[in-house]
């Protein structure tokens, strides 16, 4: 199917975003209204505040997307919306708007798993990705290693057993007084610091499986920080550098090991933490050394956006996987292996 234009809507956390993507690859508009400055004063994302901002800006953001794409509302073929996982109150704003917008235009509705979107960000930018591939999904709510058979089917081969990588960044940044959001601030501090001057553990590096644990690293960082503070010898930049390196080395080592074990030639990064330059650089270095091809989305498509939602929805559109009008939102991630049955409805019946 050609020239299929899908409006994507994304409100799962602290970005109100709308995008129009053609045929699952050509981005015609990508509008992101970030709430980061608002949440900074609270030291983290406040769900109720996020929901209030979403309902204020949703209509504007969607209207802007059509302006940028120079399209009429009726020119789109479907509306795709993130309905899981995320902050429930935030998800419900985008979902309610998307359902009504699709209904009023008499267009089908497509429900999208946010994490499928993050993975798909790679396919918006690269057309030559070969399968099978190993994909490392790292975000504020998620850390998984996936074995991909094609662009939309995956097997989970490893996951974090406690905190997500992005969550560890946020918690450690807040603890050391760096502020929010943790990822970019730790990265910035690390640039002027040096890893190795203090020592933190590489958790699970010695294990043969592909699971992760970041809670231990977070606690170790906090304990060491408190100890150094008592001695008056703490240096936030060196600590940030060591923390970031300790976390990234495990991510990289496990990903490369998985690629070798499953004999794939391609590695993908996805999710907000894939924007981390240390992760990108070290992964690129190791991929080169192991003769693997590495893909990661550009910075703008790593963090939350609606282009990835509209993009991945193209495949649902082609396969007639539409959602009913009583579609609900869900805070938690269900299995990445299977698409949830309640979003599958082969009729365009509303």
């Amino acid at each position: 199917m050609d020239n299929i234009k899908i409006l994507g809507i994304e409100t799962s956390c602290d970005e109100t975003a709308a995008s129009i993507v053609q045929d699952g690859k050509e981005i015609l508009a990508n509008i992101i209204n970030s709430q980061i400055p608002i949440h900074q004063q609270f030291g983290g994302v406040v769900p109720e505040v996020a929901s209030r901002k979403h309902i204020e800006s949703i209509a504007f953001v969607v209207a802007e997307a059509f302006k940028e794409a120079n399209l009429e509302y009726a020119d789109i073929d479907a509306v795709a919306v993130t309905n899981r996982p995320g902050l429930i109150g935030a998800l419900l704003v985008g979902l309610s708007f998307a359902k009504a917008f699709a209904y009023a235009l008499d267009k089908p509705l497509i429900a999208v798993n946010h994490l499928y979107g993050h993975i798909y960000a790679n396919f918006l930018e690269y057309e030559d990705i070969k399968f099978p591939a190993v994909c490392l999904v790292v975000s504020g709510g998620h850390t998984s290693l996936l074995l991909m058979e094609d662009a939309t089917s995956y097997e989970v081969i490893g996951a974090t057993l406690d905190d997500a990588a992005g969550e560890a960044f946020d918690k450690v940044a807040r603890f050391m007084g760096l502020g929010y959001p943790g990822g970019p601030l730790v990265q910035k501090a690390a640039e002027t610091g040096q890893a190795g001057l203090v020592t933190l553990p590489r958790v699970y590096l010695d294990r043969d499986d592909f699971n992760f644990s970041f809670s231990g690293l977070k606690t170790a960082t906090m304990n060491l920080w408190k100890k150094l503070e008592r001695q008056g010898s703490q240096n936030v930049n060196d600590m940030a550098a060591e923390f970031q390196t300790a976390l990234v080395e495990v991510l990289v080592a496990k990903t490369i090991k998985a690629a070798n074990k499953y004999q794939v030639d391609n590695i993908l990064l996805a999710g907000g933490v894939a924007a981390n330059s240390k992760l990108r650089d070290l992964m690129a270095e190791e991929a080169r050394a192991n003769k693997l091809k590495l893909y990661y989305p550009s910075l703008k498509l790593c963090t939350d956006n609606a282009a990835m939602i509209a993009g991945v929805a193209y495949h649902d559109f082609v396969n007639g996987r539409f959602a009913p009008l009583n579609l609900n939102a869900y805070p938690s991630q269900m299995s990445l292996l299977k698409r949830p049955v309640d979003i599958v409805d082969n009729s365009v019946d509303k």
Partner: protein, 238 residues
């Protein structure tokens, strides 16, 4: 004229289709199901039962608050989606005004109470002696105790001997209100206690005639309360 009225402000969800002469459709669901699952199918039934589409509407009316934060945003998100897609204008009406309109030509003090949790109610007092309810207080978020003392003051000041309480804010504190108002409290049937989407639609008619519409880009619910985090920030606790 054709008005679609949508209410998701309280645990009940309601949709109605009407004009200035006639009610065509009304549906209220008060089960413990989320408005997210209920509202769109209800809107679809209201329109398709009469062979209408969204484009046939003159305006869309919505209860803008106070009420459940999430419920208000589901209803308003829905209304913004319908309106942006079709350019059908929106009339936003207070949830408390809508509930008060369940009573007319009534010479008792009328109070609307919504459950605001955290030991508070959203409330306003009304003179319902005419066809339209006239508010005689601000919209407030206050404790049941403060509500009772304010009610007593208003009753003395305005010579009311009896009071009627509307809305789901009555139930969590029913015993306390019964004790506090005693035989001054009038019991009314349950069908008057819920917000009626037809009352919402009727309240919107004058505004539609006057072309007094809300801007959907800036429209936001009436919360009456800061979020917990904003409150703490203001108190200097963050």
């Amino acid at each position: 004229m054709l008005i679609l009225a949508i209410d998701g402000a309280t645990p009940s969800a309601g949709v109605a289709l009407l004009d200035e002469n006639k009610i065509y459709y009304e549906e209220i669901s008060n089960f413990k199901k989320t408005h997210s699952q209920n509202l769109m199918p209800m809107i679809d039934r209201a329109l398709t039962t009469g062979d209408y589409t969204v484009r046939d509407l003159t305006a869309i009316a919505v209860t803008i608050g106070p009420g459940s934060f999430t419920g208000l945003r589901i209803a308003l998100g829905t209304v913004k989606g319908l309106s942006l897609a079709t350019n059908i204008p929106v009339v936003a009406v207070s949830t408390l005004d809508t509930l008060a309109f369940n009573l007319n030509f009534n010479h008792n003090l009328v109070a609307v109470l919504l459950d605001a949790r955290r030991n508070e109610v959203y409330t306003a007092f009304y003179d319902a002696s005419g066809i339209y309810p006239v508010p005689i207080s601000d919209e407030l978020a206050i404790s049941p105790e403060d509500f009772v003392s304010l009610a007593h003051q208003l009753m003395v000041k305005n010579n009311y001997t009896r009071i009627i309480l509307l809305g789901d804010g009555f139930y969590p504190y029913a015993d306390f209100f019964r004790k506090s108002f005693n035989d001054k409290l009038l019991n009314i049937p349950t069908h008057l206690i819920l917000p009626r989407p037809t009352a919402l639609g009727n309240l919107a008619i004058e505004r539609v005639k006057a072309h007094s519409y809300s801007d959907i880009f800036s429209l936001s619910p009436t919360y009456l309360r800061l979020s917990e985090a904003e409150y703490k920030l203001k108190q200097g606790e963050i």
